[in-house]
Amino acid sequence: MYDIQEYLTATTVEEATALLAAHPDLTIIAGGTDVLIKMHHGQGAKARLLSIRGIQSLQGVRLLADGTISIGPLTTFSRLATDPVIQEHIPILAEAALSLGGPQIRNVATIGGNICNGATSADSAATLFALNARLKLESSQGERVIPIQDFYLGPGRVDLQAGELLTALSIAPEDYRGYSGRYIKFSQRRAMDIATLGVAVLCRLEAGGLLADVRIGLGVAGPAPLRCPPAEEYARGQKITPETFAAIGRLAVSSTRARTSWRASREYREHLVGELTRRALADAIARAGGPGSI
């Protein structure tokens, strides 16, 4: 039995932002797979919920005329995993989507909720970081678009201001065209688990077997998902050699802020960052038509 005081519903973005403006204490609920668990554990007693499930315009994935991929925040992980646009253009996001929970959870959990929940372990976050995703936030006052990296403020904290609703996640064509990717979720179980580490690597090759560009997104390597700028800068123009892999792995670790908890030690997490970044990069290169192993 949940301690729900009130349950409002909206069917359009305008309706939702108007309700949010009028009632700043509303908790937005979409799939409910995070909100209800928090309530089960005693957070958010006497909650007043605003369900946005009925807002059709926030559903699904669209390929815009300029090549931008626009993802509705209400898109479920099941839909994301099977969506033709995602599968054709950014299959790494389908790979990440399939790593989340189990089939029942993926049928209701949404990508917008996954991001707005603010967890460093969010299964879509590392990949969206690597894709340079941009978030559109709307309120009754207007709208703004920010890079996903600016949205994460700390553990469980995101830059969703009072009255705001996440209405789109977009990925620009220059951020995915020509790239191959690999997402590795490292967890103890193959389903229904939280990542010990999430590693998303995107890469683009250029003629002559050189790395044109590498982008690395990590989850659970710090209080929020993060990118690895030194490793990415180093990678540009490098040959695909064991030394390159070793250096990229080492540099990736330097960007992390892992800590020791009862779930895993800092030393182990850092070791995994190096190891799994190398593995993800090797797979991404192989998917780009480069040498799979060296």
């Binding site: 039995m1 301690d3 554990h41 189990g102 490292f186 103890q188 179980r189 193959r190 389903a191 229904m192 688990d193 939280i194 010990t196 064991p242 892999f245 070793a246 792995g249 080492r250 009862w262 779930r263 895993a264 030690s265 182990y268 070791h271 995994l272 190096g274 190891e275 799994l276 190398r278 593995r279 990069l281 090797a282 192993s293 060296i294």
Partner: protein, 768 residues
Amino acid sequence: MSCTVGQSVTRVDAVAKVTGQAKYTGDFMFRDMLVGRLLRSPYAHAIIKNIDTSQARALPGVEAVLTYKDVPQHKFPTAGHPYALEPGHRDKADRTILTSKARFAGDAVAAVVASDELAAAEALRLIKVEYEVLEPLLTPAAAMREGAPLIHEDSPRNIISSKGYELGDLDAAFQEADYTFTDELETSIVQHCQLENHIACAYVDSDGRIVIITSTQIPHIVRRIVGQALGIPWGRVRVIKPCVGGGFGSKQDVCLEPLAAVMTLAVGGKPVRLELSREECMIDSRTRHAFKFHIKTGVTRDGRLTGMHIKAVSNNGAYASHGHSVAAACGSKFRVLYPMPALKYEPCTVYTNLPVAGAMRAYGSPQITFAVESHMDSIARRLKLDPIEFRRRNLVQTGYVDPIDGNVVRSCGLRECITRGKELIQWDTKKARYQNQTGSKRRGLGMACFSYGSGTFPAGQENAGARIVLNQDGSVQLQIGATEIGQGSDTVLAQMAAEVLGIPVDSVHVISTQDTDITPFDTGAYASRQTYISGMAVTKAAQEVRTKVLDVVREMTGIPVQALDIKDGDIVYRHSGEAVTSLAEVALHSYYDPVSARPITSDVSNNARVNAFVFGVTFAEVEVDLPTGKIAILELYNVHDSGRIINRRLAEGQVHGGVSMGLGYALSEQLLFDEQTGKPLNNNLLDYKLPTIMDVPDIGVDFVETLEPTGPFGCKSLGEPPTIPVAPAIRNAVLDATGVPLNKLPMNPQFVFEHFQAAGLIQEGGEA
């Protein structure tokens, strides 16, 4: 159609369960049913100085608030064991309903009865408790320390029991040995995680008796213990056990029922439901004892064991529950596997300020089998002996008599199990293939053996009851004291009754619900005793009905009984199979003959004074990812000697479940607690790594069907055993793959990584 035994007949409860018609405790609805909730101590060790319940009592919807001051304070035991007439053999009575001293973080210190869950939860928040916090004792070492505070006043150094045994002359055995080997091994605290959480519903009936509907393995024992806890005659308690969604030993204990009883008494007998959440269930039902073993073993040059010295420290948690008897069973059931000239077992069961450890599938045997079978492989490796050959030189033979309890090995298919396991996994071929591996992924093979009992004799009494009524159409009702908790006992017992009576199994109507007012006495579902022990009662009851039926036929026809048989519901000539009459005719006759009418029934009890050893093996092939410490199971086979298999499909189901429990034990499961405060860290199914179906490989199952002379139809136990040898087999496969002995459970990636790193197996920079 007879020959029901040995057939994979469909479960008698299959349709009810898949259509949702089966009624579990949570499906019992009563008008105006109230909700019970418990307030739990945030401290692992604390004395309650004061409790103020006034605000909670004043909350609308709250019908009662209870503390230790409001409920009987009779000390009672909770273990699901038969009552012992001799006081010295009784379980330790160290609990009261609601406590004035919290002994683990989560101990229940107050209870609320309210109109709904939200009111109950709000009332819990309004109870003000003032604690005097004591030092939490979280390890046996801390608890046994000189001068440590006492968790229970009457247990010096917090030791519950340290009763062991010594066989033969250990000093002489070690002198005779060419080598001695020592290992330290350790297991973790794990939890049953059965599908259905603990739940009970209680009310007072019109006769003033307390009725408790509860998810339990042991209804008759619950009746006794509720009587003891409340200080009322046991007959004033009626316990009803409907369908149960699993227990694994967690419900071979009395956890909720005395609380549910005092809750209904506090609200004038209105029905109250007390249901634990998963988070509560994981800390306030029972856990599996973590053990630390120190083993020293003498071995001759040719690989014969001369003697073994085992010291075992068991972390029992806050209350005794099954405590001492788990350590005792741990030391007794394994020892038949490798008889040796000398064996000394020194257990020590210790109170700590952690959740209560109790019975869990195989009751101490997974712990000691992990230790001994890991130790055996480490010895074989150091002696450069093949681990299977080393075991073969020491295996038990049929005819062996246990020198302490007198139990006899009357059937033993262990050698055949090993041979079959080797074939299934292609041991020799793969061993040769994996000899010189390089690279970051390494494969290996491992195996482990086990021995176990069928029931608890002679440590415990093995009484079982069954009752059969022959209906007017020749079908029967079968009523048994043994409890179906998902393991399939109703089905195999129906098969046995059908076999003896010569009727189709669908003519046996099993009354699945146990109700202490009307069900024959049986101590319940535990110790893998239902098929073997309760099966004896069922065959006895069926034989009595069969004899009575044939007597009626003799009266009807004049044909001597020895010339008759019952086949597929017909009475036939034994020599030719020619039909004489039908069972239905005989049944009608028995009900309505003008002169001799006496409906045929039987009502028997069977006190079995016998036990049967079961044996088996796990063979595992693993692939170890050195840089991440992940262990993947490539192939796994369990081969069991459980005597004759009554229902192969159900037996395979037991093995699948047991192996998956063993896999979690081996690789991922452990309950964790804050090392300073003792607060639970992962009492939920996200952070407690119970394997999912995606994590369990295809499990190969086979049986070596010996015929156990003491078992009904030659059967022996199977319920618990499949979980016993899994963890050491995997550990031994990792040893084979990497040369690294992992002597602690679980072998999760972080733990494995640390050991591989220490062994120099992980290169910085890695391979791409």
